[in-house]
Structures are given as structure tokens and as C-alpha cells.
Amino acid sequence: MNVVSIRKWTFSLSAVLFIASIVTLAIPPALTAGIDFSGGAAFTMSFEDVLDPALVEKTLSDIGHPEAIVQPSVEEDGTFGKHYFIRVGELEPTIRDTDGNIEQDGGREKVEASLNALSPATVNGFDTVTGVIASENVRNAAIAVVVAALAILLYVTWAFRRVPSPFRYGTAAIVALIHDTVIVLGLFSILGKLFEFEVNAMFITGVLTVIGYSVNDTIVVFDRVRENIVRFPTLTITEIVNLSVRETVARSLNTSITLLIVVVALVMFAATSIQPLLYVLAAGVVVGTYSSIFIATLMLVVWENGEIRNVASKIPLIGPKPA
């Protein structure tokens, strides 16, 4: 297995994905904000019969509100199912004529009608609500990621101080981190634009998890490079990297597979509200495993061989010739 020889392909692939991600993120809306960020409408509803919350959730999902947050109020005796506090995303306005009569049903009427069909219900209050998450939080999370990247750079540089040019390891690790974060965000930006995939509060958690995984995975391969450089001082960096990747690939794949097993199990069995988180994790595991081998580790080779300067000029020249 000679991973170093395919570096042009992997760098090109990543460059394309990275640029595509930046482009889609640059076109507003960068991500399609869900109810947690943008708010929507809130109302309380009292049904005549006791209803299963899952049924209410499904009914709303069927009429185009998968984002609905359905909370039954708990009665004094601990039972619930008659009174609900429900939040949904933004609703289409109701069109009324000059006398105030409804000309065309809006989102509110559709929601009320669908729920009334389950059991006769009375609606108490239909209000707008703001998002739970202030933009300040998103900004904080973004700052945190930048600070974390710098801290990782310092730590990895320190941890690899015994090998030549430790700074490269730190840089390569955060390049992979940024690569993973941007591509995952880009993917969900596209999903949002094409399929109205909404991001919720869990999405932030998912992205943070991807970052943690990305660095951890990269360091395992780097650790082996560090060990092999000391053990085989006569080998070139290309040989060292090929050897190290070969030695760690079983572990990398096993870890990714184990994580994917858990994620897939959750996707199949768990509720809709955590699905966005799971998709982010799945995408992150795949991208993170890929980048630790094909981006971070191969960057060490490219840097050592002085190819970095030429990378930009090489990209247009890639042909189907085996290296």
C-alpha cells in the first residue's frame, strides 16, 4: 500500500470539496436554521381525549412540521396526554379579506385542522416565539473552535518536540481539523438548500464532536510516524509515512467502523429529533478518518519534500497517470 503516491488525488479531492463548501456557505442562508435558532410559533392545545404525544408529533410531521417540539403538560396526578405545549417553525401567513374572513388557510389553520382531526381540541393562544439559542452562542462556539485549534497547534507541537520540525505536525493536525469542520458544514449547507434540512441545537454539539474526533484520529497516525522516525532514522519521510499508515490503518478503520455501528443503530431506532446530530456524526467520522490519513499525514510528506509551494500549480496538471 503506497498512500503517498495518491496524494495528488486526495489533495485535489479535498480542495474541490473544501472550495465547494466555502462557496455554499458563502451563499446565504449558510445553513437552514431550525426552530432552535429562528423561533416560530407556540400554542397550547387541550384535547378532549388523551392522546399519545408520539401521535401528535407524527401528525405534525406529516403536514410538514418535522421540527415541532411537542410537550405534554403533566397533571397533578402524574398523567399526561390531554394538554400540550407545542412549538413549530415559522408558519405561512393566513390570507384574509378586508372583513377579516379567511380567504386562504395559512399554516395555523392547517395545524389546528390536523390536530382537531385527532380529537376535538381547543387552542389557547397562538404566539410567535423567539429561538432558544441566541446568535451570541453561535459566535461563542465559533470563537471556541478557533481558540481550540490554536491550543491544539501548541500542544501537538510540544508533544512532537523530539522529532524534526514539530510545528508541521501541529499545523497538519489543525489543517485536518479545519478541513473536516468546513466540509461537514458545507455538506449540511447543501442539504439545507436542496432538501430544507434544518439544523437544530444538537447540530452545534455534533460539529464539536467531529472536531474532537478529527484531532484524536490524526494524532494516532502521527504518533506512529513519531515512533518510526526514531526507530528507522535512515528511511525517507515517504517510506516512514507509508509504513506508519499501513501499521495504523487497521486501527483507524476499526475505530471508525465501531463508531459508525453505533451511529447507524441510533439512526435506525432513535427519534427524529436527534437525527440531525447523528447525520453530522456519521459525516464527521468518515471525513475525519479520511483526513487524518490522506490530508494531515500526507501533508507531512508534501511539506518535507518542499512540494507545498508547487501544490497550487500542480492542481490543474493532474492527469490519469499513475505516480
Partner: protein, 443 residues
Amino acid sequence: MIILVGGSFATLAVKNIDLGSFERGSSEPLGLSLGLDLVGGIHLVYQAGEEGFEPTADQMAGLVDNITRRVNKLGVAEPSIQQLGTDRLVIQLPGLEDEEAAKSLIGSTALLEIVERICTAYPCDETAPGNFTDQPTGLSGSDMSTAFAGTNTVTGEPILLFELNRGAASKFADLTTKLFNTNVVGGTPDQLAFRMDGVVLVAAVVSSPILAGSGQINGNFSAEEVRKLAIQVESGRLPIEITELSSAFVAASLGADSLDQALQAGLIGLALVLFFMIAYYRLAGLVAAVALVFYTAMVLAVFKLFPVTLTLAGLAGFIISLGMAVDANILIFERMKEEIRIGRTLPFAVQIGFNRAWTSIRDGNVSTLIIAAVLFFFGSSGANSSVTGFAVALTIGVLISMFTAIVISKKMLGLAVGTSLGKWPRAFSPEAYKGGSAAERGA
């Protein structure tokens, strides 16, 4: 090791722990504290201002901001605070304990005023309202840069300590000097009083001018009251008065079945992982499986004792740390297999496997801890603190995973190698014979 693992299981087995001042536990599964998204909580609706009053968007934003700060300082994990319509707020807090405490913290306007009490006769206190007049000084809680709960070093009574902003400090110095100068023998000295929402907390004669801009309020408080007071002063007063419209309990915001489903899915996932580990790494995989069960018990026990309120974000942090615990085991076993393959004896391969894998486990985990620390620091200043919950769970999980991989797995593998199973490297690695039979002979 046995004590730790046994202790963890015991902690989880008992729902409520009560050792004098140390009370932990709840009625939730395993006695863990669960968040709003997982079990529901109190649902409060507040009206801003009098009915008919129309607050501006800025006032409402200020209100949300202020209450968010109060709730966060109370240590409630991941509250949900939203503006409802134009003049109402809907607040959801996880858990059901301390409902009254939470309400009084949120609901009070928290206008702390520093007033000058001009005394004309004796006694100069509430028992004789005619003997004094209170005059505003223009100083209030918003002039305090910090406020925190402390105890009087002499009496041990809870007190509120505060520091004033630079500009207010000189005003306060002038005020206390002026009050001190009325403190002459035979006179009726004027007093310094602190008023919270119109109620006098304490009024006292100034025994020396306070020039440094810091002071304390000693008002026969309980420790809990002082803590609440400190939170309210620090987060400032509400821009508008609010009144409670309704209060109810709501079930989990994730939907009733989600928690069960998620747990079920998590268990299925875990079972698949354990199956995979055992199939691929044989006996070593079995050891890892046992270690992971111990790991899960220990993490949950720490969550309970801490206590950490588990929300979905926290669970995500836990799951990623579980992934890292699996990964640490995989790293060690892959290394062991390599060593067996090149012909090392089994006990030696185990030793080297652990030693060599340690550097990568250490560096990987330290990096993760750095990320968690940064996230905790930045996440804690925000409104919905799911980032903080994630960071806390991840930190605890990673620390314990290092311990289980290095201590528990190693000890158990060492024991397994010591028995007659140790003569059978195939039990540890399906590829044991590829590198020659030296391993078997050596063992």
C-alpha cells in the same frame, strides 16, 4: 480498582444517596439527574409589565438576557428561555426540585438600592417609622462590578460582599465619610441602608468611612439567600417587572418515546460494538468488553455524584468518550497483535502493547481535553449551555477512559495471560501463527 468499580455499581444501584449534607440522586433511571430534553421540567409563563403595557423589542431582549444570566448562574443545566408573542416569556427549567427557589430568583425585579437614612430621633429603625427619612443616593446594584456570597470571619454569618465600579467607588467614599461624620457622641447618627425591591435588607451606622470601593451587606441572611442575592445583583435588575401567568410541568421536549428509543438504540449499538470487539480480538476483546461495562458504570456514577445533569448534549459527550475508550482498547490490541506477529511472547506482547499504545492514547486524549476545556470556557457565557454540558461530560468520560484502558484492561489481561489461557496466543490474536511459532514456544 475493585473498590472503585464496586463503588460505582453500588452508587448506581441506590437511587437516593443521603449522607448528612451530601444528598444525591433522583427518581429518574439509576438516580441520574436528567435534563429538560430528556425528562421535562417546570414550564413558566411570565407577563412583562402591567396588562396593556407594550414593551419594546429592546426591553424584551434585555429581559431575556437578564433572566438567562440569572438562571445560568443558578447552575440549571440547559434551560430554555424564549420570548412569547410581544410581551410574554416562556421559561422551561429541567428537574422539579427547588421550584419555589427558582421562581423567586427569576421573578423578582432585583433593584438593589443604596440609600441614606437620615435619622432625627431614636430609635432609628422600622419600629419607629416617624424617626427617619430614606433618601436615594443614586447608587444601586448596577454600580457594583462584582457581588458574591461570603461569610463573616468573626460570626460565621453569611454576608454579601461587593465591589463598586471605579466611578461609584468615590461616590460611595464621599457618602460613607458624610455618614461617618454624623456619628458623634450624643447625636442621632445617620445610617447606610441597602434596599432590595423596596424592602430594607439592612440599615446600620457607619463605623468608619469605606474608601476602597468594596463593602459587605450583613442582613441576617441564610446562605441560600445570600447566593440568590449575589446572582441577582450581578445579573442586574430586570428592565421591566414580570408577573407569573402560569406554571406547569411538562414532559420531555424530545417527545415521550425518544429517551426510551435512544437508550434502546444505544444499548443495541453497544452490544454490536462489543460483539465486533470480541469477534475481532477474541479474548482481548472480551476483556475490553468487560472493561467497557465497568467504564460505563464508573462514568454514570461520577455523573450522579458530581452531579451532572444529563441532557442530549451531555449524552453525546459521553458517547464520544465511550468511542474513545473503545479506541484506546483497539489501539492497545492492534499493538499487541503486531508484537505477537513478530514473534514476541504473550506476556511481553501485552506489556509492550500497553506501553507503546500509551503515547498515542495520551496525546489523543489530552488534545480532546484541551478542546473540552476551551468549549467549557466559551460555552459557559452563553444562554443555552448545551456546549458546556457536552464539554463536562466529555472531560469526565475521557479522564475515566484513560484510567479504564490503562489500569483495568491491563490488569485483567495480565490475569488472563497468567492462567493457562496464556499458553494459547490464538485466543488473543487470530493471526498469532503467521509470524512463526516463537510466540507459542515462548509462552
